[in-house]
Every structure is written in structure tokens, then in C-alpha cells.
Assembly symmetry: C3
Homo-oligomer: 657 residues x 3
């Protein structure tokens, strides 16, 4: 595999006279890919039907002429004013009932059939015009689905679409009433047309009702994306179809969208995300203010890699300070390079910076680029140049694929929706729970793969963890039964039926011959009242009262005697949300049993295995000595004294695995 670098570019923002020079500089820097076009609808079609593709063709020609490969975006995230005025009911509606209007971006409702037709029309026009252009290497559909919380809309279009979706699913109102348990509080409907959207109710709506609405909304994103992907495939043979996901975006099922993509990509803003979507406390945010959370990027690299059969990119990489977080510091020197290399360590094909030149106008004028607004090279430019050089030096050495990781985590988007609907305790959040498991595994130096909740196989993984799974898919249940590695289930996994009800035999709803445990009762806890565990550590936020069969072994108990971790053979069940140290200890024990070699890393240092090599990354501001981890020879890249923001790569055999 040829690892490549790219950049996002907006020819429509700059005088045409500048394009050739920009292209030449990109190529000189060592970039190979350029994403363009994704917000340009008002320039591609200034009035209905008045297509103006000539400038885009000239831009593509210019880039192509400089040896660059173009990723062409469909402009559907920014419908122009004339279109919105033609069909104002295409606008999304917030949960509070107010219309979210024109004037920024993503002002459309995924449920709106009329807008979907418009998107197909412009996509078709672009695909016909540029599908076979030799400069086009790939396509991006739309931009950052769900950004600004746009998956959920409470419009008339959504209501009609949801009712039709329910009719297809349930066939009869009676079936819906039974599935949702509408007998409770007289919520029964006699007709699908009576089903309201689940917002603006007096108190909380029926969780089964909300859950179906969440599924419906996710399906609408899948439908929207697939409509474009199908058109592109039909008219642009051999080109990859890509979408750029965002960080900690859970409102739609990325596995389902990914199924229609060739390549999943995501937009990685380590400093912005630390500021605006991390659960860590202020000390942590202060410590990593100029580096980002050491596990956040890796988490998404691993997760999105799983959504499209292993092929993945970073489509937008933070190159300097951004504009949208509560605070927007500059990255520490070297971090842009580190982030770039980390993507490759996790198997990225292409790592693309956002953006080429800082725009001096409009909403993102304070967002850094590789160039400053005055076209002088910004800090990120030089770090990108170093990556380009190092990529060339190492290219022969590294394997094509990352290969299977040590541990698999089951990740399931509907579980995120379920626990958002019914957290039961204020802190219960699916992402946070899974992230805790992920970070603990990484603190042990392990590499992680994600697998979806309906994975048919867990083969090859010596350890599989399944925290917080809403409900069992038959496939996963079979995969667990067939699996001979260690499996850690819980907390809260299997606690619901697909209809959002408590399973008849109580959670975790696993056959007795597999585990022999029942969750008799649960409780949620204030952060200051954790439950102490015998031998140290606590359960926080969430705790279960487990009943175990005679043949099930209790490995850990709470100080009040309630079983905390139980097992039958290789199958384990965890009855609470462990604090960080307890979770580390539990996973350390399981890893040892599973024959995985682990080492405890400081918060700032992370490893990632890639084929026959292992990468080391230092997110900290002080050096770290890799000989402590058994690195005996000088690395291929970097040195054993891992500098602040440092990167090192060594042979796997030498890394102490």
C-alpha cells in the first residue's frame, strides 16, 4: 500500500489565477490527494437548472495537471437559497419544534423526499460530468452527516416518513401497540397515522417509541447516502466512494452507512474534540490541551476502519488552531506530525489536512490551514512536509495492512441510542463506557479492533469485550458460543429485547450453559457514592445485583458481598462500571489468561501494532524512555528516547510483544 497525504481545497474561494500555483505547491509538499467541491452548490447551479460546471472542470484539470488526484464532494450539505425557497419544508426542525433555517450548513431534513430527489439530480449531473475524468480518484458524499446534530429532525416530513416506516415494520397498529407496550399510560394507537414524533411530550416518551424513531432516523441517513453512492458507482467506475464521519457522532449507524462506502473516512480534530466532547476532568484537559486526548483519535481510527471493511482515511486533519471549540489553542510542536503518523499506524491509506489555505472570510476564518491567509507557510505545513519525507523513507519497510489486533470490542450504535433514551443514571453514556474499556486496553499496550453488534464471527481474537450492549443479535450470540477466546460481557449488556423491554428471564439474557447469571436488580449511583469492591477499586455510576448459578464462578465481589465479576469457562460477566484502576486490573487479568502480553503505559504514551511493526507515540510534554518497554535497538523512525510529541517505529519482535 502506498500511504499518501492529501489536503482540502476550495478553488471557488480563490482567484482562478492562483490555482496553478497552489497545485504546484501542494505537489511539491508531497501531497497527492485534493478534496474539493463539497460546499459549492451555489456556484455549480446558481439558479435551478443553470449548471455551471466549467470552473470546476478547469479546477480539476489544473490539479490533475499538477499530478494530483481529486476527491470530488457532492455539494448536498449546503443546498442553495433558491432551492430552500422552493421547498421550505425541507428544513430540519429541532426537538423544541423550531425550524432550523438557511444561513449556515446542513439545513436539510434527511426525511424529505423532495430534497432527496434534488440531491440525486445534482449528484447525477456531477457524476455524468466528471465520473470518468482521469483526475477524479474518489468521491465524497455530502459532508459530515449529523454534524450540528442534524440526524434527528421533527418535521412534518419526518412524521410522515416515520409513520410509513412503522407501517412497514409492524404491519398492524396492534403489533406496534404490543411491541411498545402502549397499554401503559393509554398510549395506544388505532392507526399508524396517529403516531406522533416523540418530542414535546409532557414527560418522557415511551422508550420503545423513541428507539424506533432513532432507528428510523438512522435509516434515513443510510438511504440518503446510498442514493448518492449508487449514482456515483453507476457513472464513475473504479472510483472509491467515501464519506467523512465526525468524532463522537453516534446518531446514525456508521456500520450501515459504511456498508455502502468503499472507504470510511473521518475528520480528526484532536484539540477541538478534547475541548468540546471529552468526559475527562479539567486536569486532564489542561494536561493535554496542546496534544489532544491520547486515545480519542485512535478510538475513531479503529472504529471507522471497522465500518468499511478495513479501508479508511482521515479526510480532515487539524493542522493548527481551529475556530469552533470553547478554546482553541495551538498544537504543541510536532503534534500535527504525530497525529498524521498515528493515522497510518492504525492503517489509514490517506491522511488529508484541512485545509490548504486559511480563508480570511466567513464562518471558518479563524480555522488554521497549511498556509496562512497571506499564503505564507503555517506551522502545519512544515510538519506535513516532514511526514511526506518520512513516508518516503519508510514506505518499503511497513506492511500493507495493520492486521488483526489483540482485542476486539463490540461497538453498537443502537446501544448508544438506547442508553441516551434511558440512561437511568445521569452519567450513563454508551460512548463513555466503551471508551473507558478502550483506554484501559490501550494503557496495557494492546491494539484494538472494533466489531459491530451483529458480527458473525469473533475469530482470531484472544479477548473480546462487550460493554453496554443494548440487545443481542442472533449472529453475535452464535459467534460467542463458537468462540474459544475469552469474552467479557457487561455491564448492562443484553439488558433489553429489541423492543426495548426487559427480557423475560432477566438480563443479560444469555443461555444458562453459556454463563448462568441473572441481573436481579440494578442501581445507579452518584459519583460520590461508588460501591467498593473487595480487593480494591469501585463500581461507579452503575451497579448490578447478580444472581449466579452454582456452576458459575465468582471472581470478584463487592464489599457488600454482591458478585461483581463472574465467569463460566472463558465467558465472563461484569456487573458494574469499574473505575479506571479496577477496569485496568480486570482487563490485565483477562489478558494474562488470554495469553496476551501487556505492559502498563503512562497516560501520555501509547503503542499501536501494525503488521510486523509497532509504533510508539508520546502525547506528553516530557520524554519517555522506550527501553523501559524492552525496545533494545534503535527504531526505524525516531529514537528510543521518545521526545515530546515523538513518534517511533520498531520491528515487532523487538518491541517486547
Amino acid at each position: 500500500m502506498n500511504r499518501t497525504l492529501g489536503v482540502c481545497y476550495y478553488p471557488e474561494h480563490w482567484p482562478e489565477t492562483q490555482w496553478a500555483d497552489d497545485a504546484a505547491r501542494m505537489a511539491r509538499l508531497g501531497l497527492t490527494h485534493v478534496r474539493i467541491g463539497e460546499f459549492a452548490w451555489s456556484r455549480l447551479e446558481p439558479r435551478r437548472g443553470a449548471y455551471d460546471f466549467d470552473w470546476l472542470r478547469r479546477a480539476i484539470d489544473t490539479l490533475h495537471g499538477a499530478g494530483l488526484k481529486v476527491v470530488l464532494g457532492t455539494p448536498t450539505a449546503t443546498p442553495p437559497k433558491w432551492l430552500v425557497d422552493e421547498m421550505p419544508d425541507m428544513l430540519p426542525v429541532g426537538a423544541d419544534g423550531s425550524v432550523r433555517g438557511f444561513g449556515s450548513r446542513r439545513h436539510y431534513d434527511f426525511s424529505h423526499d423532495g430534497y432527496l430527489e434534488e440531491c440525486k439530480r445534482i449528484t447525477l449531473a456531477l457524476a455524468r460530468a466528471f465520473g470518468e475524468h482521469p483526475g477524479i480518484a474518489a468521491w465524497q458524499t455530502d459532508n459530515e452527516y449529523d454534524c450540528h446534530n442534524t440526524t434527528l429532525s421533527y418535521s412534518a416530513a419526518a412524521r410522515a416518513g416515520f409513520q410509513a416506516w412503522l407501517q412497514r415494520k409492524y404491519q398492524s397498529p396492534d403489533a406496534l401497540n404490543r411491541a411498545w407496550g402502549t397499554v401503559f399510560w393509554s398510549m395506544e394507537v388505532a392507526d399508524f397515522g396517529e403516531v406522533e414524533l416523540p418530542n414535546l411530550t409532557v414527560t418522557e416518551a415511551n422508550p420503545a417509541h423513541v428507539m424506533d424513531f432513532r432507528r428510523y432516523a438512522s435509516d434515513m441517513v443510510v438511504r440518503f447516502n446510498k442514493a448518492q453512492a449508487d449514482i456515483i458507482r453507476a457513472h464513475s467506475p473504479g472510483r472509491d466512494v467515501i464519506h467523512n464521519f465526525m468524532g463522537r457522532t453516534l446518531a446514525f449507524d456508521h456500520f450501515a452507512v459504511g456498508a455502502d462506502l468503499d472507504i470510511s473516512s473521518w475528520d480528526s480534530y484532536p484539540l477541538g474534540f478534547l475541548e468540546d466532547r471529552s468526559d475527562q476532568n479539567d486536569d486532564w484537559k489542561r494536561q493535554f490541551a496542546r496534544a489532544g486526548d491520547p486515545d480519542f483519535q485512535a478510538f475513531h481510527h479503529d472504529l471507522y476502519r471497522a465500518t468499511s471493511k478495513g479501508r479508511w482515511w482521515v479526510m480532515e486533519q487539524q493542522p493548527g488552531p481551529v475556530n469552533w471549540a470553547p478554546h482553541n489553542p495551538a498544537p504543541r510542536d510536532g503534534m500535527v506530525r504525530l497525529w498524521s503518523w498515528e493515522a497510518f499506524a492504525h492503517g489509514a491509506e490517506t491522511m488529508s489536512y484541512f485545509r490548504w489555505r486559511q480563508a480570511p472570510f466567513a464562518q471558518e476564518q479563524m480555522h488554521a490551514g497549511l498556509l496562512r491567509p497571506d499564503s505564507i507557510e503555517a506551522e502545519g505545513y512544515f510538519e506535513a512536509a516532514q511526514v511526506a519525507k518520512e513516508l518516503g523513507e519508510l514506505e518499503g519497510e511497513l506492511d500493507d495492512k495493520a492486521g488483526l489486533a489483540d482485542v476486539a470490542i463490540v461497538f453498537d450504535y443502537p446501544s448508544a441510542w438506547a442508553w441516551e433514551i434511558q440512561p437511568q443514571g445521569r452519567e450513563f453514556d454508551y460512548f463513555r463506557l466503551v471508551f473507558d474499556f478502550y483506554r484501559s486496553l490501550r494503557r496495557l499496550g494492546l491494539s484494538v479492533d472494533f466489531v459491530p453488534g451483529d458480527t458473525p464471527s469473533l475469530e482470531g481474537y484472544r479477548l473480546v469485550v462487550i460493554p453496554g450492549l443494548f440487545t443481542w443479535s442472533p449472529a453475535l450470540l452464535e459467534a460467542i458460543k463458537a468462540h474459544d477466546g475469552h469474552v467479557l460481557i457487561g455491564p448492562r449488556s443484553g439488558s433489553k429485547t429489541a423492543d426495548f423491554a426487559i427480557p423475560q428471564g432477566l438480563p443479560p439474557a444469555l443461555p444458562d450453559d453459556l454463563l448462568g447469571v441473572r441481573v436481579a436488580r440494578i442501581e445507579t449511583l452518584r459519583a460520590d457514592t461508588p460501591v467498593p469492591i473487595q480487593g480494591g477499586g469501585t463500581f461507579q455510576f452503575w451497579r448490578e445485583y447478580l444472581e449466579v448459578n452454582a456452576e458459575t464462578e465468582t471472581i470478584l465481589s463487592a464489599k457488600d458481598g454482591v458478585p461483581a465479576l463472574v465467569a463460566k469457562g472463558n465467558c465472563h460477566y461484569l456487573g458494574g462500571w469499574p473505575d479506571a484502576d479496577l477496569l485496568l486490573e480486570i482487563l490485565q487479568g483477562l489478558s494474562a489468561n488470554a495469553g496476551l502480553s501487556v505492559r502498563e503505559l503512562p497516560d501520555e504514551v501509547r503503542l499501536r501494532r501494525h503488521g510486523h511493526h509497532v509504533f510508539a507515540f508520546n502525547y506528553g510534554a516530557t520524554p519517555f524512555d522506550l527501553t523501559d518497554l524492552g525496545w533494545s535497538r534503535e527504531p526505524l523512525l525516531g529514537s528510543r528516547r521518545l521526545e515530546p510529541s515523538g513518534v517511533a517505529v520498531t520491528q515487532l519482535s523487538d518491541a517486547g510483544y
Copy 2:
């Protein structure tokens, strides 16, 4: 009096084949009362006029056949979809102007005449069908008025109703203009039709305007309840009419609703209420996370007992973890029993658990019952069984009635509205103020009665406290004058006329021969700037500058010399909100003067006198030695070493009173 236990049950949630077994188990457990039916409208009338009461009759027959007494609820808290679709303007409207829709419960506007007629219709149909059924012991009207803040609605129906109410009250716009002082800011109206609802104004609305709207809204709840009570009484002779109030619910006048009830009941969720409606700090919440606030339940027992001439129940008792608070821990072992006994100590006739079996579906699926969803006994079941057994053992011993308490607190719902409308300082809250007084009295081991703000007599109480009273009723003023016990008035009491104006002679608007004090000026204080009092302690949040007549005695002064506590004869006035220790000291002194014997209890331990007995309750996690309080003999129930969650009862003479 035969003290009894009950449970809430939803036959419509379970297969009919299970009913008889459920009923038999209830009876075996020692329950005698079962509340049913209050959310079943969609099953009782699936379409307009298509009544289906047969299943309900079979359910009542089954329960009755097992020897159980049924409390039948009117289903008006959950109007079905077809009815809402017929008259969508029956939906309540939030203060922000958005309609609160179908999909949960309590989606109706108390002002809507059309919906009121519907409620009368279904109530009449039920009362005719079941009014004389021998299994019916009582009725519950609707369910939890005001739950989810549903007393106030800003609908067109509310506006029209309010205007008509104002016309009845004021007769002429001029009278309204004078009463409200609308000359201020040119708010004058020329016609009652010009009066708007007091929401969505640019800045705060006229407090007199808001106060009348609050009175109106409370009256609408009274009207709504009375309409049902009248029908039930007419068609179900000899049965008690009950409503189940909620905790810290102040939006309507419970005395006024209670006047139309035979029995007031309330829904007691000690852990949920600690989490979501306590003013205490995090340390306190942590300490009592598994027990509940030691005074919160007692407060409502005492308050609601007062609203219906002494007859009262707990209609819903928390049996385990609930689902609706920010955190939902499990009760400490024994607390369900303690809460049950505490209700009886405060004079309850019936203590009913919510609910029989945990429902595995819909909104409350995470709310524990006496049975788990799989019908196995949950923890609460065993504690209920113990209570049933102990009730049998003690029944002959205890008096029928609790009798008069040591101290009376005047509690007045309009005062709660007034200070919500005009807190003047962020922390000023009527409930919080009264609760501080209540807790202090209980820390002294005293038993408390509440009396309404228009009580005509204070006879029998050696001490009466009147904190934060909005305005004087003529009745209460006469009662004070006639009273020979000690009276403590203030802070802020009598500070307004009924028209929400400052009284002409300044607060507290009492005749000089009674007290001889004037509030010349008030100030509200940040929590970190309390006013120190000579001799120790502080005024917090609220402080008055008192002017006293020559013959009025100053008992306490602030360090800056301003009188803090003054008295004339047995009548005292308190010019600020004392901190906990100062309040304790003040009440201790007054109690001593009043000849009440007091003892200072730790936070966790509380006493309650009941006829010739006294109960002791331990909300704490460590034992408490009752011999410290002078208990010399072994109690009738429990032991002098009061265990965590322990209950003890002894003869009054032995308790040191």
C-alpha cells in the same frame, strides 16, 4: 383503627390468566388494598363511546374474590389519542408557548371545559358501573395533579378562563387596575378581554397579575377534582374519595383540593426525592443516598394529614430503585420497612406500595416493584411482609389516632406562589424556609402538625411557628390574638396585602398591641455574606431591619445592632432566615418557654409521638442507643440499640416526654 397495607396493580398489563394468582399472593403477603385502573382509559373506551368495562369488572371480581379491597382510579390523567385528536386544544401549553403533546401522560389543560366534560363523562360511566360493587372500597381521582409541572398552562383555554375568573373577582377593569397597580408601566386594561397571560413578557410581569394567575390555576385544579368527587359521591355511597399528591408539589392549594376529599394520600419516593428535589448539599445527599432525607417523608405525612381532616394514606411507597431521578440507588436493607412504619407513626391508615410487579415495558420499566418482572419476590416484598407481620403483632397496642402534635406550623400554598413570583433573593423559597423550621423542630425531638393559613384556631398548641407567610387571613389573625401559646412569626410573614402590595403600615402588618414591630427595609444576601448575630449564628439569604416599639422586647440582635428576634408577651417576630444552628437555638429557647421538653437528636435519628407511644427511626448506617434519650425499658417493637434502618416503639411515659 385497622392499619393496612396496599399495592398498586395494573391488570391490563398482564395476562388475565395471571390475575388470580397475583391476587392470592397479595393476600398471602398481608396486603388488603389494591389500587387499579388509573391509566386505563384507552382500554376502558378504545373509541368514543365504545366502553369496554368487562375486563375491569373481572379484575375487580378477582381481587375482591381474594379478599382484597379495590381503590379504583379515574383514568383522566391519560386521555387516549382519539380524544386528544378530537380536541387538540385540550393540550397544555408551556410557559415558552409550545404545546405539550400526546405520548406520555398528564397531557391536558385544567382550564379546558371540553376536556372537563369528557372527564365527567368517563367518571360517571365508571361510577355507575362500579360505584356499588362490594369490592370497591375507595376511589382515586386522576393521578398526581401537577406532576411534570402541569398545573400551569398558557393555552387559549387558560386565557379565556383566566379572564372570566378575573371578571368574577374584580367586576370592573378599574377594580383590577387598582388592585394590581397597573398604572405602573402603563399596564392598564380597559376590558377583561385585554388581560394577557403573564408569560413571554419582555421582563417580569406584574406580581399581582402573576399571583392572580396562580390562584386561578389552583382553582382550576380544585374544580377539576371536585367535578369527579361529586359524581363519585353521588354514585358510590360510603366509599372514600382519595387523591394521591406528590412530594414538594406546591403549584395548587392542597388544602383546597383536600376539602373535597375524604382522604388525602401521597406518593412517597424517599430516594428519588432526595436526588431531584432537595435543597441539601452533596454531602447530605451522599450520606442519605440509600435512606432518603430523614425529614422529607415526615414533612409530607404531616402536611397532607392536615389537608383532609386527619385521614390520610401513602398511596405509592417506593419499594426499591426507581427510574426517574438523576441517580436511582437501591434502598439500604430495612429502609422500605422503616418508611412503612414511619407513615403509620404519622397516622396513616393505609400504606400502599408502588407497584406489585415491575413492568418490563414502557416508561417505568426500570421502576422496581414488590415482584421482579419475572415474578420472583424482590427485596421490597420481604420488607413488606415483615411490616404486615409486625402490624398484626402491634395492632392492639397502638392508639387509633396520632393526636395533637407538640408544635403547629402554618403552611400556606399561596405563600409558595408569592415567593416564587418575587423571591427578591435567589435562594428565597417558601418550601425551603418552612422545611428548615420543620427540620429544626424535629432535631429537637418534637412532633409537628401543619395548619392552613386560614386556620380559625391554634388551640392546643404550646408553640406555633409562622414563617414566610405571604399575607394574613382575618381568621389566622384572630386565632393568634386568641391564642395563649407561644407564637413565632417571620421572617417575611405578613409582608404583603392580598393584592401583592406592601401593607400601608409596613410589614408584618400586625396590630401594635400584638407585637409592635415594623420592617423598615429588607435585604437579600449572597450565601457567602451572612449577617452575624450576637451570641453566635447568622442570618442567611434574607434579613430585615426591624423597628420596635418601646414596649417590645429585643431578644436577639445582629452584630450591627439591628434587632433580630423581638417579642411582646408570647408573640415573637424573627427578622431573618437563621442558619441551622441559630434556628435550633431559637426554637429550643421558645420550646423551653412553652414548656415543651426537647432533646437534640443527631441528623439520622428522628422521633414521632403517636397517641401514647413514641416511635424512633434510624435513617443512619450506624446504630443509635435510645437509652441516651431516656428509653429505660425494652421497646414494644425493636430494641433500644436502634440498628441502621431500625424502628422502635415505646410507651410515651418511658420516652422521656
Copy 3:
């Protein structure tokens, strides 16, 4: 100049029989001015066209008869109900799209042409009726523009007005598209009628779009005020036109409104403002809870003095506890007197208390007056009496004018809008930044003038500071070039073009021969991650990476080597937001260079130069010894031992300047 005292009075609130007595008491107290009428529309015109001015004439006659001068307010801040019902679309609309209704005050939209006409009509009627009445000394237009955030409205009238305003400004949609950079995110418009208001967008709107809307909204306030001022001037010759501004009110350009006034005034509520609009921490708020922030009143005295060519009043002075802040404590004894004298020290002509007698009814019933509701003198009365007496004693001594201050600060309302639109870091706030500079200068004992962002001259100021200026006006640029005093620019000054874009050569967009510095990059910082500066102190919240030309001197650098303070000749640029101590140190150094004599004052003590005298004020609760500042003789007023809440005045030569 004859310094005078006044009071606000509402004859319509009191029986006519009381007027004469009130007037006589006012005169006896030493008041000379009385403001009346500003909320009385419903009494002046109870129905359309049915003017009733007789009572007002009798009130004016009564006051005039007592020797008092009347300031007559136009009643346009409180349109009556009948008028609102005639044109309900005159109501303002919040950013959330909900109409802000009748029932309090300021319920009108500045954009509404119909309401503007009504205001002109009532103003004309009043001006004709009373314009030449000998008792009328001045007029107040409306009341407290923008109070309750009423400058911005998102109504249909605002949308139409904004579109017309844009058309006048840009002439063609193309020009608007270019200026705003709407090519970004396809926000282009083909017609001015397509421009939406910038609220309710999916994510943030284009900053250039919002900025123009802010300018438009400010222009509407100017238009509104000017319409009244023109009418008054035409019909009430020789009388001053005044408006009363509020504290920390930035939504409209007070310089632009002030241009149409004879006198700017403001409503000074030191305790309320400390509680509800200060950036200081809780310790500070506790320390000054009964005094107010020692710099807040002075800041507004100096700022508003600048908006109307030096003539200014305090129209409303807090006389005791108010009703509208989160907490409303009583002022420390002496503070009402201190605040009064402080206004005169900063050059006020008239200092008017709000209000004469506390109203016992309606919204402000808990707002103290000089009299209590029972007409007894309140605390403020006696302090006002003392001021009146002292004014008489000192009148011959003091100069007419305050004269030029030591330092000028450029204050620019559009900069406040700009950084509200684009803070880039959560703490970045224009007022807070400028206030930090102002306080630091005052800590050094300096007196400060404000000048607007388009001032054509800086003559006479040895030091000029220009923090956070959005964009350069040509006038100010020329003034700086012409200036021979010291100038301190930055942080963030000149960082945008007028079109809200980054300047081509990067900020601060100053000619190289003036300064020779470029801001290559900026970052915003969490409060817990400041940037340390060599030699001590930090940059907080905001930091710039400066590039300097060879001939530009670096005076201070950050510890990471980035220049922090640079200079060329007398022109300095500051690349970050200094903490309080660093800012003090920087300004101390610059003052020394500028030849200004400074002395470091404690937080509680402030000086103000006035002509040939200097005032000292003690906001603290302990005495301060003025001999420490070189005061060698007994002051004209007060003593060298400056008591808590004390005021002293001495000859300039003696003050150590």
C-alpha cells in the same frame, strides 16, 4: 457649574393631594430636578387620541411651584395595551423566534415603522403641550434603550428593515456576496429579499452577516431616538434632550445615539450591577457586596461623558436595596453619599436618585426610594441630604469642568458586537478586556477619558490604549500617526476589515513604518492554561504569535520565546491578554515613559482628578491613610484618614500628582 441633585417621581402613582407636600419635601432636601412622566402613556392617552394631559400639567405646575425643575420623559418605553392590540406586529421577537408580549415594558420593535410614527405622535403632542412650560428644564427620550435585551429583535419588521438597509449599503447582491464571502457554504443570495435574519440557523451564521445585522439594529435605535429628539428640539427651545443609558449595555452605539443628545445620562446601580453583570469572582463580589465594584461606576461615568461632548448626568442613582439582582443587599452606610460624590468627581452636572418614594405595588415594589412606602425617610434620604449640604459648602471651590484626563482609552461599540459574534475563546469579551485596562489604570491612580473608535484626534493624552479594536477607522489611523504621546495597541486590535475578514497583510493591519508587526497566528486558552511571560505574569484567554520587523523592538517575550510586547517609537503592540498584575506592570512602565506620575492603590481606594482638585474614594470597610499618597494637608472635604465609604477632596498640588 452649579452641581445639582435630582430625583425620579411618578405623580400618577400617588394621590394628587400628596403632590404639593412631596414637592416641598424635595425642595427642602436640596433637590432641584425631578424626572417624571416616562411610563405614563396609558394615563396620557387612555384611548387612541383621547389625550389627558391635565393631570400632568398640574403635576408640573406643582413641582415648578416648589422651585423644582422638571425633566419630562416621553412615555414610549411603555406603549399601552390598546396600541399594541392595534398593531401586534410591533412586538419584538426573541432570537428563539417567540414574540415578547405585553405585560411589562419595552415591548416594541425598533424596526417597526408604525410604532415609530406613534412615538412621534405622542412626543409631538407632549412637546407642543409642555415644550415651553417654564417648569420644564429638559426632556428624557424613552427609557433605558436596550434594557432587557431589546435592541435585537427578529421580527418580520426587522427582516424587511434589514433587507432595505442592506440594499442601501451594498446596492447589489453581488456586492453583498463579495463582502460577506457567501461563496463559503453556498450562502449566496440573488436578491436582497433572500437575506434572512441570522437567528435559528443550523450552526453559527456568517459573522459578516451577523455584524451587519448588529449595525442595522444599532442604527434603528439611533433612528428611534433621533425622531424624538428632533421633535422636542423643534417645540421646546432651550431645553436639553437627554437619554438615560444603562450599565454594561453594548448592543447599540451610544456614541451614535449620544450625537443626537445634549446630555448623556445613565442609571447607576452599583450593587445590582456587581451582582448581575460583573466578571469578577465570588471573593470579589463578597468583598464589595455592600459597596459595588470600585471601578464599575467610574467606567460608565467616563464612558458616557464621552458620548455627548462632556455633558452628562446620573439619571437614576441607587438609594438602597434594589429588587432585580440575584441578591439585593443594603448599601453600607455612606455608600449612597460616596456614589453621589463620585459622579461629581467625574464631571456630572446632575445626580438624580431613583426614586422619591418606594412604590408599594407592581414590579418594583421592593426597590428602595429616598422615602419608604409609608413616607418616612429611608437611609438614602439622609445621605442625599448630606451631599446637598456638602455641595453647597464646596460649590465655590471646585472647577466647572473635570478637564482632560491622563490617559485615553479607545472604546468602540462595534468591537463589542464583533467579539460577541466571534469570541474564538469562551472568555473573550470586549467589555471585560477594556475594563481590565481601565481598572489597571485606576489602580495606578490615573484618571481616564474614553474616545470613540473614529476619534479624529488624540491630542493632549500622554498615553492612549486601544485594546481589542475590531477594525481601524481612517480617522483613528490618522490620529495615531499624528500623535506624539505613547500608544498601546492590542491585543486583537485591527484584526478585521470592516467586512469582518482577516486583513490581507494580517492583523494588526498597521503600516510597517508605524509598527512593523504581524499576527501570524492566534490561540485561545483555557483559564487554567495561561502562557507564562518572561519576567513574570501570564497571558490568559488570548495569545498571539507575533512576527516583528527588524526595526521593531521586542520589550517582553513569552517564556516560549514568542514576542509579547513590541514597540516602534512611541507605538506599542501587545500580543495577548495580560493577567491583572502583568497588565499593571506594563501600564506602569508605559506611564513612566509617558511622564505620568502613578502610585499603586489598594483595590478599595480610587482617585479621580477634577480640574485642580483630586478626589479620593474608599470603597472598603476599613480606613485608608491618605498621607501614604502624599496628602500632607487636611482635605477640603473629608479627612486624610479616609473612613470606610469615605470621600475626600484636596488641592491637586497637594495630591502628589
